[in-house]
């Protein structure tokens, strides 16, 4: 039903049924054996396939990503408003309607929407799929812009049945452009005479798969004038083009259509800039990545030891897989024998498994990660300045886990070369993420700054108000219940094909809810992470995303070996992963066939019913404005409040004598610690009225997931009142909240601070105002209206975590290992703070965290049980630290571009501290704070855990 939401046709009057089979690139379904009828029954009646059906591969897998629209830019809004109904149809509307309403609309529109007629003479604006762009003649067109477009054709003999040769060869749907009925598009009368004989061929539409479309140089409305110098017109083109039989390069002469200013032409939607991201993720731009990485040595190889010696390395038999195969990896693949020998030798000499090497090629240091699997070894080599050793170790183990998840075992992955293309895709995404992080080609992909977060066994979690969480959870539970009327077992007297084991929901790469067990969740997370889906969802708006893949969850393998859960046996089912994405949302499901569901036969392709249900859930969530509240939360103030490092620089002359805790001279932030805090909770309730939009629709989710978190914040300490007001702040604020007060507010707060006991506040403020080096960005930039001072003040104090004169917390990362959840400030929070030093600080913080975490895990690494047989040849790790609980680093920074030569630049010291907790809930906390932070608040920061806990 919802398949019409895709809207991906770039040509206007393509009639769906008549010539469908004639086009090879047209979506085509490879139907699994036997159960085709049932699978498609939901589609019966309209006979249309879902857009992703064309992406079904031979194993039933689907990886279909379709690019979405950008939110309309202000310029276009006027035009877009006309098409609001159309937008809704395309699933991109902003209106928040109920699902049923939406469905109804779709149903209603379906009839007249089957065929879209657009012709130049009578532009039917109502049904057009295209944005209207006013035809503004550019400079070239005034001269009768005649261009040459070179296209490479490779005609397929089988498809000569096409309506026209133009369509078959170029993907151009020709239209008759009658000269007499039009104004002359040609400014040169001489040229006009050349084509008197017949009507011109106008490009009426472009097939998305045609060469014309791909070249990007031909647009709708252009006229095809000649080919290789032979004039073409509507009457002769079929004859002329029939001469083309073999692959060859042709030159098309294209005349740019000139239209008067008061007319519109209909243009296909332009490829949006972030379309490149979609293409990257979907693997369409594989070649380009490979080219841009040509200079950077990197490789992934799967080598077989069988019969290998150093001498026979030139034979490629031992290389079962290699990516990329180009200049960049030549040197590395030349020494594959070295990798094999090293991995083998290490085991015999030291008795332990090889992990990594560092090698130098052309004066560039490379880190090489190994994973030894029997006689085979997986080798991953990357430049050391991009990927550190500890990061590489994480990546190798993650990749191995992912590959086993996807293909059952490493041998399965690499031995048959059938997965070659998919592996290329996966590894190209990996290298792109690791090596091209800051590159111009992919500015949107996560840079290596956040490499640390990527190594964690968890994903960033968006902390939403409880009622929103309940709503999301209940929606997901409802989906998981698969209690659909026409799906129930007795309805068709048929077993349901799949049981939904669990789901999880992401928005912009942030986890909103997870109903999967931890192991499964980590599997799912790895899949999304290594296919850059989270990045995609956070940066681009996805039109439609459907991914289907049979998977071999880690959980099953672990169960097999372990003897836990006696009395319970896992059903011998098959597991399938289904990811459906729309806009910024991603819904991941793990399905099980077998067990209590029907047994899967062959390699089933995704059941459209489940895909539709997942889409419906996403639509439903959208209709109750879940994405909107997520956006609200993301654009809201960071909670707990974090500071920007740049605010802490000050000249030393400002130092003011004061009692403990020492205030930071020159800081723009003021203490509200000592002001009375005992506002009743009732007032807070008023301040943050419960969200009216997100009422739980039907059943409530499982109550255990929705424990009110605020209770966790009633910390019994001096700062408790600060912290306890924490959670309600996240509720949907229609008015974005003032982060820091403007000067008026500040003056006000100084007054109250004075009454509250912080007598130094006033003088502090005055001195800081004069001498502040870097202006507080919040004075101007984030000033929002509509919030009275009292509310603003209270909010500010409520969100400040640390005590003392200033908010000394810069950044934090909290990893709940049991939940697979990371809580940290959002990217937006960080960019909001701005500053020049702060981004560096964040970068350093993440790098330090990587080091700290390595120390933690090195000290906790379980000793391998020594095999009795070879106790003679053993190396035992000699790590005297035993258990490390806390590790901190004090960093010193100075502002950039320090101009005053005479004075030495001011310095600011900040701590990066990590702490690991074992029982009962293993978690790791990393905090970055100013050195002046008093110890008790640091302790508090660790204990608070920043609101994690689903």
């Amino acid at each position: 039903m919802t398949h019409q939401l895709q809207g991906h046709r770039y040509y206007n009057d393509y009639s769906s049924s008549d010539s469908e089979t004639d086009y090879p690139p047209r979506p085509r379904i490879i139907v699994g054996q036997g159960d085709a009828d049932r699978r498609w029954e939901t589609e019966s009646g309209d006979g249309l396939e879902p857009a992703w059906a064309g992406a079904v591969q031979d194993k039933g897998d689907v990886f279909y990503v379709e690019q979405g629209e950008e939110p309309p830019s202000p310029k276009k809004v006027a035009v877009d408003n006309e098409f609001n109904s159309e937008h809704t149809l395309n699933g991109k509307g902003k209106e928040k309607r109920g699902l049923h309403k939406l469905k109804k609309i779709i149903k209603g529109r379906k009839g007249d929407n089957g065929k879209l007629h657009v012709s130049l003479s009578e532009p039917d604006l109502k049904t057009s799929q295209y944005n209207l762009v006013y035809g503004t003649p550019d400079k070239n067109t005034d001269n009768g812009d005649l261009r040459e477009v070179s296209l490479f054709l490779s005609p397929d003999i089988n498809h000569t049945v096409a309506q026209s040769r133009l369509e078959a060869l170029f993907g151009i749907i020709p239209g008759r452009f009658s000269i007499k009925s039009r104004y002359s598009p040609l400014s040169s009368p001489a040229r006009k005479n050349d084509f008197k004989n017949g009507d011109k061929i106008m490009v009426r539409g472009l097939l998305p798969t045609g060469v014309a479309m791909k070249s990007g140089q031909i647009s709708i409305g252009d006229c095809v004038v000649a080919i290789n110098g032979i004039p073409l017109n509507y009457d002769n083109f079929n004859r002329v083009l029939s001469a083309i039989v073999g692959p060859l390069e042709v030159k098309l002469h294209i005349e740019k259509q000139v239209l008067p200013k008061d007319r519109f032409i209909l243009q296909p939607r332009r490829i949006l800039p972030n379309g490149s991201l979609v293409k990257l993720v979907s693997g369409e731009k594989l070649k380009e990545i490979t080219i841009s990485l040509q200079k950077t040595p990197h490789v992934v190889m799967y080598l077989s030891i069988a019969g290998n010696t150093l001498e026979t390395t030139n034979e490629n038999k031992e290389v079962l897989y290699q990516y990329p195969e180009n200049e960049a990896s030549r040197k590395l693949s030349d020494v594959q024998g070295m990798f094999l020998t090293v991995s083998d030798m290490m085991e015999t000499i030291t008795g332990t498994r090889v992990i990594c090497s560092s090698i130098v090629i052309n004066k560039q240091l490379l880190n090489v990660g190994y994973y030894k699997n029997g006689t085979e070894v997986l080798v991953l080599a990357v430049p050391a300045n991009k990927v550190s050793v500890s990061q590489l170790n994480h990546i190798v183990s993650d990749v191995v886990r992912l590959l086993i998840l996807l293909y059952g075992s490493l041998d399965n992955t690499f031995l048959p070369s059938i997965y070659q293309a998919k592996l290329d895709h996966l590894f190209s995404l990996l290298f792109q993420r690791l090596l091209l992080g800051d590159n111009v080609h992919t500015p949107l992909l996560d840079s290596n700054t956040y490499a640390f977060l990527d190594t964690l066994p968890g994903v960033r979690w968006l902390d939403l108000p409880d009622d929103v969480k309940v709503t999301i959870d209940s929606s997901l539970s409802e989906l998981e219940a698969t209690d659909f009327a026409d799906m129930s077992d007795d309805h068709y007297d048929d077993r349901r094909p799949y049981v939904i084991l669990g789901t999880c929901l992401f928005h912009r790469g942030y986890l909103l809810a997870n109903h999967l067990p931890k192991e499964d969740f980590i599997d799912m997370l790895l899949y999304c992470r290594y296919h850059s889906l989270l990045t995609l969802a956070s940066e681009a708006r996805i039109g439609q995303l459907v991914i289907w893949k049979e998977v071999y969850p880690t959980r099953r393998r672990k169960r097999k070996s372990g003897t836990e859960n006696e009395g319970y046996t896992e059903p011998h089912g098959r597991d399938f992963l289904l990811i459906v994405g729309m806009k910024n949302g991603l819904l991941c499901m793990l399905l099980e066939a077998g067990g209590c569901a029907a047994k899967a036969v062959g390699n089933p392709s995704p059941d459209p019913f489940y895909v539709d249900q997942a889409k419906a859930t996403l639509l439903h969530l959208e209709s109750i404005s879940i994405p909107a509240s997520c956006e609200d939360r993301l654009s809201n103030i960071p909670v707990p409040a974090i500071s920007c490092a740049d605010w802490f620089f000050s000249s030393k002359s400002n130092t003011i004598e004061s009692s403990t805790p020492p205030p930071i001279p020159g800081s723009p932030m003021l203490s509200r610690l000592h002001t009375p805090q005992q506002k009743g909770s009732s007032k807070k309730q008023q301040l943050f009225p419960p969200d009216s939009g997100g009422k739980p629709k039907k059943r409530s989710g499982s109550p255990s997931r929705n424990v009110a978190r605020s209770s966790a914040y009633e910390v019994d300490s001096d700062e408790g009142s600060d912290a306890s007001a924490y959670s309600p702040v996240n509720s949907q604020q229609s008015t974005p909240v003032l982060r820091r007060r403007n000067d008026d507010n500040r003056r006000e707060s100084v007054g109250s601070a004075g009454s509250g006991g912080s007598s130094s506040g006033s003088s502090l403020f005055k001195s800081t105002k004069k001498h502040r080096i870097i202006p507080d960005p919040f004075n101007m930039a984030i000033l929002r209206k509509g919030l009275n001072e009292a509310e603003a003040n209270e909010l500010y104090t409520a969100t400040k975590l640390t005590s003392g004169a200033d908010n000394t917390l810069f950044h934090y990362v909290n990893l709940e290992i049991g939940q697979g959840v990371v809580v940290c400030p959002t990217h937006k929070d960080v960019t909001l703070l701005g500053g020049t030093v702060h981004p560096q600080l964040i970068k350093n913080f993440h790098k330090c965290c990587l080091g700290i975490r390595q120390v933690f895990h090195q000290s906790r690494k379980p000793r391998l049980k020594s095999k009795k047989t070879q106790q003679t040849n053993r190396f035992d790790r000699n790590y005297c630290f035993k258990v490390v609980k806390e590790h901190g680093i004090l960093m010193q920074c100075t502002p950039e571009n320090w101009n005053e030569q005479k004075k030495s630049p001011p310095t600011m010291n900040y701590w990066v501290v990590g702490r690991i907790y074992g029982k009962p809930f293993p978690r790791e906390v990393y905090v970055c704070f100013h050195e002046s932070a008093p110890q008790n608040t640091i302790e508090l920061a660790f204990k608070l855990s920043f609101g994690a806990g689903l």
Binding site: I349, S358, I359, K847, C893
Partner: protein, 419 residues
């Protein structure tokens, strides 16, 4: 701690010597060949294999002057590669110290070289062993502070002068108590290796050893004369062909050192604290390493407190554990957050975290189950302090700063810096 050290000729791959430490079986000939072969294979393809890590061990390869290949296989102790390469450098320079660079660079007779290199087995073994000394780790020589130092300095200077040299030092319990300014001008590695050499040699009342200084004069040998003054105290002179050992021993020794005998005796009483009893330290401190990166001195003690440790309120850590923790702490911090003290001829590419960080790390600490460590990185000083677990974390910083100030206050640690 188990370790292998393999030394081969770079072009032919002929094993020159192999040292095995710990309870592991010696390397088979084929394994030695494989270790070397993989490195040579890589080299032929224009790839330099630097190091490899396994779950519990690490391996590093290094070729010196295209003539000698050194391979070390050692237990993983969480250290960065920097420390692995430094170990190899130390081994190579030990060979230079005793054999001379000429013989090593241009190998004419492999069998002869093998014989010659036997002389440095002891020294190499010392490098692989876990000792209570930190010099080889920090590339700064272990020193010994006592209140008698200024007095002893005078005696040493006159003694060295009389021996017609400018290089001389006085070692107390294998740590340098005083030395001439020229002696301090030697590089950190030379200082470390010379005192390591003394330690590795069997006890003797006097010695006369030919040494090549790895950096100052790697091709021309000097004579190192040592004389045991009292038990645990040795006077060393570095000189040319004259005077003879007998001359110095018979004519100069008594004249110059007899008057200082009392000072020497009181000096040795400071051992094992290594710092004068007058310097008071916080009771929570279990040990520390203080390094002056400018003049390559390293002061370490595991007995900071004169009082009996059993009376202290914290859990007692064994001596080897204390040393182990401090060494691991040093290796974890230096080369990762703090810049290491490099020897002059460092050539490996490393990509340590510290190079990637845009801000300078100043302090760092680690809290374990039964210990706490704090390190401070000042301009010239690095101090690594081991605390008992009872010391509150927030006190670590101030206590460490105070300790550093106390130790460098009376210029004991620093006095020869100016000259």
């Amino acid at each position: 701690m188990a370790a292998y050290l393999v030394c081969l000729t770079a072009d032919g791959g002929v094993p020159l010597f192999t040292r095995t430490k710990g309870n592991i079986k010696p390397l088979a000939f084929a394994e030695v060949g494989m270790l070397n072969g993989v490195q040579m294979f890589a080299q032929n393809h224009g790839v330099k294999l630097q190091s490899t890590a396994t779950d519990e061990a690490r391996i590093a390869w290094k070729v010196y002057h295209e003539s000698i290949t050194l391979i070390v296989v050692i237990c993983d102790d969480g250290a960065s590669d920097t420390h692995l390469y430094r170990l190899l450098d130390n081994v190579f320079h030990s060979m230079v110290l005793l054999v001379g660079l000429d013989d090593i660079i241009s190998i004419k007779n492999v069998e002869r070289l093998k014989r010659d290199l036997k002389a440095c087995y002891k020294l190499v073994d010392t490098l692989l062993e876990e000792t209570e000394f930190f010099g080889d780790l920090t590339e700064s020589v272990d020193i010994f502070l006592s209140t008698e130092n200024s007095l002893l300095q005078e005696h040493l200077e006159s003694f060295v002068h009389a021996a017609d040299s400018t290089y001389g030092c006085l070692c107390v319990m294998d740590r340098i108590a005083v030395a001439t300014t020229k002696w301090w001008d030697l590089t950190g590695q030379e200082l470390v290796l010379l005192s390591l050499l003394l330690r590795s040699l069997p006890q003797a009342s006097s010695r006369d050893i030919a040494v090549y200084l790895p950096h100052s004069s790697p091709k021309i040998p000097h004579r190192l004369l040592t004389f045991q003054l009292i038990h645990g105290v040795e006077a060393c002179v570095l000189c040319g062909p004259t005077p003879t050992l007998d001359d110095v021993r018979d004519k100069l020794l008594e004249v110059h050192w007899k008057p200082a005998l009392e000072s020497l005796r009181s000096c040795i009483r400071v051992f094992p604290r290594n710092i004068p009893l007058s310097v008071e330290l916080d009771l929570g401190i279990l040990g520390f390493i203080l390094i002056n990166t400018d003049n390559h001195r390293c002061l370490a003690t595991m007995h900071p407190n004169s009082t009996d440790e059993k009376q202290l309120p914290h859990k007692i850590l064994s001596m080897s554990r204390k040393i182990g923790i401090l060494k691991t702490f040093y290796k974890t911090v230096v080369g990762i957050y703090f810049a290491p003290v490099h020897s002059p001829d460092k050539e490996e590419l490393t990509c340590d975290l510290q190079a990637l960080l845009s801000h300078k790390a100043k302090d760092t600490y680690i809290c374990g189950d039964d210990y706490k460590c704090y390190a401070l990185n000042d301009d010239r000083y690095q101090i690594f302090v081991l605390y008992g677990s009872h010391v509150p974390t927030f006190a670590l910083r101030t206590t460490t700063q105070k300790t550093l100030m106390t130790l460098i206050k009376d210029k004991k640690f620093d006095e020869k810096k100016k000259s």
